[in-house]
C-alpha cells in the first residue's frame, strides 16, 4: 500500500468521525447562544427539565435508530406510546390492576404492536411505510376506544417517582427518568456495537442481500428489531404517564417523526448501515434544547415548527453537500 493511499484512507475516516459527532459541537453552540440570550437558560433546574422532557422521546429514539440502521423506519412509534399509555392507565384506574402489573402489560402491548409490524414487514414483505402507517392509525383508534378520547389522570403515588422522582434530593438530584434513559442507551449501544445481533443489523442495513448471503437471518432480525422498538414505546409510555400524571391522546404525538429527525440530526444515515444510536440521543437533546431555548426567547410556537423543518432539511443538506464534495 502506498503512503498516499494510506493518507487518503485516514482522511476518509476522519471525515466520518466529524460527521458522526458534528451534532455534539452543534449542541454546545446552541447552548452558548441560549446562555447569552437568556439568564435562566443555563440553570441546573432548566437543564434538568430539558433532560426530563427529552427522556420519553429519547427512549423511542433508541428503537427508531435501530430500525433506521436496518434501512427502514417506523411511523407507528408515537401512537404506540399513546396506546400503551392508555392501556397502562386504564388497567390501573378502571380494571384495578396492581400498577406494576399494569406497567408490564403496557410494555407487553408495545412489544406486541412492534412484533406485528415486524412480522408483516419482514415475513409478509409489505413495505414498512404501509404497515407502520396502518398501525399508526390502528393504535390511535385503539387509544381513543380505551380512553373514550378523554385523558385518564391521577396515577397512584407508588409509581410516580419513575417520571418525577430524583436521586439525591429534589433540589439538585438526578431525575430517575433520565437515569432510565441513559441506562437504556448504554445497554442498546452495547447491543448494537458489541453483539452479533447488533452487528447483523448493521450488515442488514448496509446490504440486505449480502447479509443474507453471509448467512444472517435477515427476516428474523428485522422482526425482532421492530419488536424491540415497540417494547421501548411501552417503556417510554410509562415514563411519560408518570411524569405527566395522565394518559392523554396527546401522549407520544409525533414522536415517530421527532425520533427520525433526531436520528437525522445526529448523523445516522437513513439509507441504513451507518451511525451509532448514541447519535440519536444527541439529536434528541439538540431538538429539545432548541425548543426550550426558543420558548424561553418567546419565539412563537408556530414559528418553532417551521424552524424544526428548516433545521432538519439543513442538517441533511449539509451532509449531502459534504458527501458530494468527496
Amino acid at each position: 500500500m502506498s503512503q498516499l493511499a494510506v493518507r487518503r484512507d485516514l482522511k476518509r475516516r476522519l471525515s466520518k468521525f466529524t460527521r458522526d459527532y458534528a451534532i455534539v459541537v452543534a449542541i454546545f453552540l446552541l447552548m452558548i447562544i441560549f446562555t447569552i440570550a437568556s439568564d435562566y437558560f443555563l440553570t441546573y433546574r432548566n437543564i434538568r427539565n430539558i433532560f426530563m422532557q427529552t427522556a420519553s422521546l429519547a427512549i423511542v429514539c433508541i428503537g427508531q435508530a435501530m430500525i433506521v440502521t436496518t434501512g427502514e423506519f417506523d411511523l407507528s412509534l408515537g401512537q404506540n406510546v399513546c396506546v400503551t399509555s392508555a392501556v397502562m392507565a386504564y388497567l390501573i384506574k378502571f380494571a384495578g390492576f396492581n400498577p406494576w402489573i399494569a406497567i408490564l402489560c403496557a410494555i407487553g402491548v408495545g412489544a406486541l404492536v412492534g412484533l406485528s409490524n415486524g412480522v408483516l414487514i419482514a415475513y409478509a414483505g409489505i413495505p414498512c411505510f404501509i404497515v407502520t402507517l396502518g398501525f399508526q392509525m390502528i393504535a390511535r383508534g385503539a387509544a381513543k376506544i380505551i380512553t373514550n378520547a378523554s385523558p385518564i389522570p391521577a396515577m397512584p403515588d407508588e409509581i410516580k417517582f419513575i417520571g418525577r422522582g430524583f436521586i439525591g434530593g429534589n433540589e439538585y438530584g438526578v431525575p430517575i427518568s433520565v437515569l432510565i434513559m441513559l441506562a437504556l442507551f448504554l445497554f442498546f449501544a452495547f447491543i448494537m456495537q458489541r453483539t452479533k445481533f447488533g452487528r447483523s443489523l448493521y450488515a442488514i442495513g448496509g446490504n440486505k442481500e449480502a447479509a443474507y448471503f453471509a448467512g444472517i437471518n435477515v427476516k428474523g432480525h428485522r422482526a425482532i428489531t421492530y419488536t424491540i422498538a415497540g417494547l421501548l414505546c411501552g417503556v417510554s409510555a410509562v415514563v411519560l404517564v408518570t411524569r405527566l400524571d395522565s394518559a392523554a391522546l396527546t401522549n407520544g404525538n409525533l414522536y415517530e417523526f421527532d425520533a427520525m429527525i433526531s436520528c437525522i440530526l445526529g448523523g445516522i444515515s437513513l439509507a441504513g448501515g451507518r451511525g451509532k444510536i448514541i447519535q440519536a440521543l444527541f439529536g434528541a437533546i439538540f431538538l429539545m434544547l432548541f425548543f426550550n431555548g426558543m420558548t424561553m426567547l418567546n419565539v412563537n410556537p408556530f414559528v418553532q415548527d417551521v424552524l424544526k423543518g428548516v433545521v432538519m432539511i439543513g442538517a441533511v443538506a449539509l451532509d449531502v453537500v459534504r458527501n458530494r464534495r468527496r
Binding site: V6, L10, R199, G206, A210, F213, N217, G273
Partner: protein, 492 residues
C-alpha cells in the same frame, strides 16, 4: 501521415494522492476498432471519463478530427460525437425500446412528439445492426444483451463518431457476444470508430485492429493487434511474464463428499445428478440463464427444489435454508460481488467476520480487536491490498473485493465452496491469484464447484466439467476431453 480521428497528447489526471493518468498519449485511427486493455486501476476508466467529459485533465490536449477540443460536460462530449456505452446501462427501465433510443433527443412533428417516426427509425436501426426486436417492449423485459444493443443504438443515434464500449461482453453469453461482435463490425463498416475495453483477451484478437495497453496510469504500448501475441499482451499488462495461466493442484480427488440426485425445480432445473469429490474442482459451464446459478441456489436451500435429494458424505440431508447449508459446510461466493457478496459500506474486517461471527466473539459479545486481528491475518494470507482492515470495501478494487468475499468463507472453513463467476470483471493479476487460491483450497482437501462463463477458465481449472443446457445436464466432460468446441456444442 496517418488519419487519426482522436489524438490524446500527454494527458495527466491527478486525484488527491494518486496520479491516475500520467502523460498518456494515444492516437486512434479513423474507423478502427481500438482495444484498450490494462489491469484494474491501470487508468482505463479515468481515460474514458476524460473523453466523456466527466473528468478534466490537469495537463494535455485532446484532438478530435484534428481539432483541439475540450470536453467540459458529458453532454458536450456527446454533441461533439463521443458516446459511451457504460457497463451499467443508463436507461429508463419502464419506457419502450424506441423511447429509450431517443431519450433526450426525441423527434418532433411541430410541437408534438413524433412517435411514428421514432418507432420506424428505431426499428430500421435495429434491423440494420442485425438485432431486430419489438421497439414497443419496455426495456425492463429485455435480456442484458438486448439492452446493450439498445444502448449502442442510443449512442450511435447521436451522430456518433467515436463509440466507447466499457467491458461490453462482461455479462454476455458466448452466443450473445458473437452477435454483439457482428453489430460492432457493422458500426465499423458504417464509419464509426470504436474504443473497446475488455478484460477478455480472446476478444481483442477476434475483434480489434489496434490495441493500447495501460499500466499504473502510464501508456505502455499501442500496436496493431496482428503484431502482438497473447502472452506479450499479458506481460505488458502485468509488467511481468505470466508463465502458466492456470495452476494445478496435482492432487487426486478423493471420496465423494456431495452427491446430488435428480434435482428438479419446475421450469428451471430438470433431473440433475452429479457427484463432487474431495479435493476436486468441478466446473459448471453453460449459457447464462441455462440454470447454473439456479442449480447452486437449489443445492444451498436458497430456492426450493421440487424433487431431488442431496447427500453429504453419503448421508442424505435436507437443506431448506441457506443458513442450514452453511452449517452443513457449504458456502457460496455469489456472482454479483457488489450486490450480493459484500456490504460495501462496511469495513473489510466486518465483512470478513460476517459469516463466522463466533470466531471474533465470546458468547454474544463481539470483540472489535479480535475482528481486526483475524482480518489482518486473512489480508496477509490472501494478499488483499487495502490501506487497513477498517477501510470500507467499496474503496477496494474488484479483485481485492473478491478476495474479501473468499476470505469470509475461508474463516468459516467450509468444506464445499461454490464459486459463481469468481473472476468476473477482475483484472488478470487478481484472476491468477484467485486461481492459486482455488488450487490451495483443493490441496487442503476442500471441494470447489466453479460456475463460469469463461470457457478457458473452466477448462483450465476443472478436474471435470458439467455442462448445463436449459436446466438439464447436457454432458459431463473429464479433464482432457473438455475443449471449448465440445462444451459449446453441448451448450447450444
Amino acid at each position: 501521415m496517418a488519419d487519426y480521428i482522436l489524438e490524446l497528447k500527454n494527458i495527466t489526471k491527478r486525484f488527491p494522492g494518486v496520479t491516475a493518468l500520467d502523460q498518456v498519449s494515444v492516437s486512434v485511427n479513423r474507423g478502427d476498432i481500438h482495444a484498450l486493455v490494462g489491469e484494474n486501476g491501470a487508468g482505463k476508466s479515468t481515460l474514458i471519463k476524460v473523453l466523456a467529459g466527466i473528468y478534466h485533465p490537469e495537463e494535455g490536449e485532446v484532438f478530435l478530427d484534428g481539432v483541439r477540443t475540450v470536453f467540459r460536460t458529458p453532454s458536450e462530449s456527446q454533441q461533439k460525437g463521443i458516446s459511451v456505452v457504460h457497463q451499467e446501462f443508463k436507461m429508463s427501465e419502464s419506457l419502450s425500446v424506441a423511447e429509450n433510443m431517443f431519450l433526450g433527443n426525441l423527434l418532433y412533428k411541430g410541437r408534438l412528439v413524433d412517435w411514428k417516426a421514432m418507432r420506424l427509425q428505431a426499428d430500421r436501426m435495429l434491423r440494420d445492426l442485425g438485432v431486430p426486436m419489438d421497439v414497443d417492449t419496455p426495456v425492463e423485459r429485455l435480456s442484458v444483451a438486448q439492452k446493450q444493443m439498445v444502448e449502442i443504438c442510443k449512442a450511435v443515434n447521436r451522430n456518433c463518431k467515436v463509440l466507447i464500449m466499457d467491458e461490453p461482453s462482461a455479462t454476455l453469453t458466448e452466443k450473445e457476444q458473437a452477435l454483439m461482435f457482428g453489430t460492432v463490425r457493422k458500426l465499423k463498416a458504417g464509419g464509426v470508430t470504436v474504443i473497446y475495453i475488455s478484460h477478455r483477451l480472446e476478444e481483442i484478437f477476434d475483434l480489434c485492429d489496434t490495441v493500447t495497453v495501460l499500466r499504473d496510469g502510464a501508456h505502455i504500448a499501442t500496436k496493431p493487434v496482428r503484431d502482438v501475441t497473447r502472452d506479450e499482451l499479458v506481460s505488458m499488462m502485468v509488467g511481468r511474464t505470466v508463465t502458466k495461466e492456470y495452476p494445478r493442484a496435482g492432487t487426486q480427488p478423493g471420496e465423494v463428499v456431495l452427491e446430488a440426485r435428480g434435482i428438479s425445480r419446475k421450469g428451471v432445473l430438470e433431473n440433475i445428478s452429479f457427484q463432487l469429490r474431495r479435493g476436486e474442482v468441478l466446473g459448471i459451464a453453460g449459457l447464462v440463464g441455462s440454470g447454473r446459478t439456479e442449480l447452486a441456489r437449489a443445492l444451498l436451500g436458497i430456492d426450493r427444489m421440487d424433487r431431488g435429494e442431496v447427500l453429504l458424505r453419503g448421508q442424505p440431508v435436507r437443506i431448506d435454508t441457506f443458513r442450514k447449508a452453511i452449517k452443513s459446510g457449504l458456502s457460496l461466493v455469489p456472482e454479483d460481488r457488489k450486490s450480493q457478496g459484500l456490504v460495501q459500506i462496511a469495513a473489510v474486517s466486518r465483512n470478513i467476520c460476517m459469516v463466522n461471527m463466533d470466531a471474533a466473539a465470546s458468547g454474544f459479545v463481539m470483540s472489535a480487536a479480535k475482528e481486526r486481528e483475524i482480518s489482518r491475518e486473512y489480508v496477509d494470507k490472501l494478499d488483499i491490498s487495502t490501506p487497513s482492515v477498517d477501510t470500507e470495501t467499496q474503496y477496494l478494487s474488484g479483485g481485492n473485493q473478491q478476495k474479501v468475499v473468499i476470505a469470509k468463507w475461508l474463516l468459516e472453513d467450509s468444506d464445499i465452496i461454490i464459486l459463481d463467476e469468481p473472476t468476473r470483471g477482475i483484472d488478470v493479476g487478481a484472476k491468477s491469484e484467485i486461481y492459486n487460491l482455488i488450487v490451495s483450497l483443493v490441496a487442503q482437501g476442500k471441494s470447489v464447484l466453479m460456475i463460469s462463463s469463461e470457457l478457458p477458465e473452466v477448462i483450465g481449472m476443472s478436474d471435470r466439467v458439467l455442462v448445463i443446457h436449459e436446466g438439464r445436464l447436457a454432458g459431463e466432460l473429464a479433464r482432457g476431453e473438455a475443449t471449448q468446441e465440445r462444451i459449446m456444442s453441448l451448450c447450444v
